[in-house]
């Protein structure tokens, strides 16, 4: 392995933090879903590198599942967002306060 494991972990950590910041701070639902995707990908990177590091294929198999789940999640999430936009005319999650 050319790239050291520690570097990969750091990259994944930075990505995860960025995703988390995106999910928490942005005022746009699409951006929040994007942030979640980024966090998922960060986790996937760790799985792949860990599979390489310990030479075990289960990590890569996990990543395939994660990709599949992420794809469905995005499609369902986007559908919900579109529906919500039609209902309220806004992407701002703070306006969705009917249950408050």
């Amino acid at each position: 392995m050319i790239v050291p494991f520690g570097h990969v972990l750091m990259l994944a950590g930075v990505l995860f933090s960025l995703g988390m910041f995106c999910a928490l701070a942005r005022r746009n639902l699409i951006m929040i879903v994007l942030g979640i995707e980024i966090m998922l990908n960060a986790a996937s990177i760790i799985f792949v590198s860990a599979a390489l590091h310990w030479e075990s294929l289960e990590g890569q198999a996990f990543v395939l599942f994660i990709l599949a789940v992420a794809a469905t999640e995005v499609s369902v999430g986007l559908a919900i967002i579109i529906y919500a936009f039609r209902r309220t005319g806004s992407f701002d999650p703070s306006t969705y306060n009917l249950l408050k």
Binding site: L24, Y96, L99
Partner: protein, 637 residues
Amino acid sequence: MTIFSGEYATLPVVTTATMLPFVAFLLIILLTRSRPRLSAALSVGAIAVSLGCALFLLGLHRHLEKPIQYTGRWLASSEVQIPFGFLIDPLSLLMLVIVAGICLLVQVYSLGYMEGDPGFSRYYAFMSLFAWAMLSLTVSPTILQLYIFWELVGLSSYLLIGFWYEKFSATQAGKKAFVMTRAGDVAFFLGLLLVLLHMGNLSILEMNGPQAAARMSPAVLTLSALLIFGGIAGKSAQFPLMTWLPDAMEGPTPVSALLHSATMVAAGVYLFARLFPFFSLSPTAMNVFLAIGTISMLLASTMAMVSNDIKKVWAFSTISQLGFMIMGLAAGGYFAGVFHLTTHAGFKALLFLCSGVFIHQYQTNDIFELGWLGARRLKAPVVAIIVAAAALSGIPPLSGYFSKEAILAGLAGLSNPVWLSAGLVGVFLTAYYSFRVIFVICLPQTHATASEGSSHASGLNHEDGRHERQYRTMARPLIVLATITVVLGFFEGPLKDFLIGRPIAAEPSGGGHLAWAQYGALALAVFGAWWAWMEFGRPGAGLVGFVERMPPLYNLFAQRWYIDHFYRLFVDRIIDRGISALCFQNDNKVIDGGIDEMSRGTVESGRVIALLHTGAIQHRLIVTFAVIVFLSLYFFF
């Protein structure tokens, strides 16, 4: 043959006698309320049959050897058995006859007195209820059964005193009677529980038997006797609880007659006689009873001396005569007390029924007004009331004389002369106040306003026919009762044999002492009557009693020794402003306040917690992440 049929007949006959009025009550209440005549017929018929049954039983068992008891189990709780049934002995037989007799006469009388009243059916329903409760009370074999019917008597008297419920004072009087007798009954019930705890059952025969002394220590015996006497004091309007009785005059006059002669107030004395052997086990209690009887007798007589309301005079006299009975019983004169109860039932009912006729005809209770309006024109009631008043004051050939002599003889037998002298003073006072009423009503007065009288008389004329009929209906029971009053005294001997049995040979008290008391009492009675004559009777008399010339004394008597005031003050200060105010504060501040605070706290904390629920998804995410970060910090480092 007769013995056998008698044994078999007793149970059904007693059942009929006691249950028929109840059946009448139910029928009237449920079916015939809208038909007054039928209701009255039902009620009178039922009580007439009861009287027939009672007389039959009296005839059947006139040589009763030992009490007959029929019981069926009603309640059983581990060892405690509470049976229900009948107890037939001379006392209950006598009382059964008195009660049924007076009830019948009063109900017949009421046909006239209550005619046209909108509540006629209701009146007869309550009368039947009353009769049922009282008849069942007399034949109760256990104190608990007696207590149940005792309370029923209290209930029905409440209903009857407050019969004219549109009148505020009547409802107040009904409530007062109910509450005051209840105060005594609480004591009664406590005494009853005490007996139950120590004896294990409440059978009257066992309480009167040797078991009571064996199973209860003298202190407990005295305590329970005193507690049970609390009930008697409430019911029979004795000293501390006497103030309800004069107010109970708010009811219809026949009700007063019934209440005062044979039923309600007599129930207390009857209970005393019923448990007489039990009470005699405790000399201390007997002394207390004697004192209470004496105090009530003297207080009530003095109150009667200044009252101008004819019914109130008789009400006070009832208290005083009941006190007299209690004195007689407490002095050990079982027969004397019961005999006075019997004769008193007759002449007191007569007094009230006569007064009822006057009140019905002239629409006033005031004796002076009755005198002016010419009440003496009604011949039969005037004669009857004179007979009854003479009996009340103990003038010789009448029944009251004999029973009073018997009581005084009992009092003379006591070592302490105070009781006898109090009794003699009572005799004087009784004669004075009863003849005061008689003279004021029956003799023409010098300053009578003739025009007023005649105008009223002419006012009566246009309804002559109806009045005449009512008057005749009412007069008939008067004649019967007057006859009883005259002749009953001569049956002292047979009654005594019947009640006590043959074995008692001679009077326990000394002969010389007794004779002195007898003549003294007679002289005092005549003296009282003479005094009343001097002040109210003779032509040109001032119509002012000697008490009224002494304002402080007059006020004391007229305000009923301020007992009512004291109670009012007591209730006002201690109960209303003390205990209830405290309870009110507790309720208001502690209980209500606590619950208010609790709910306010819930609301407040909800409001605080609701701040966390912003409903924004990103806030939740932040919290979630923060928690996870901190958890991972906690777990990994």
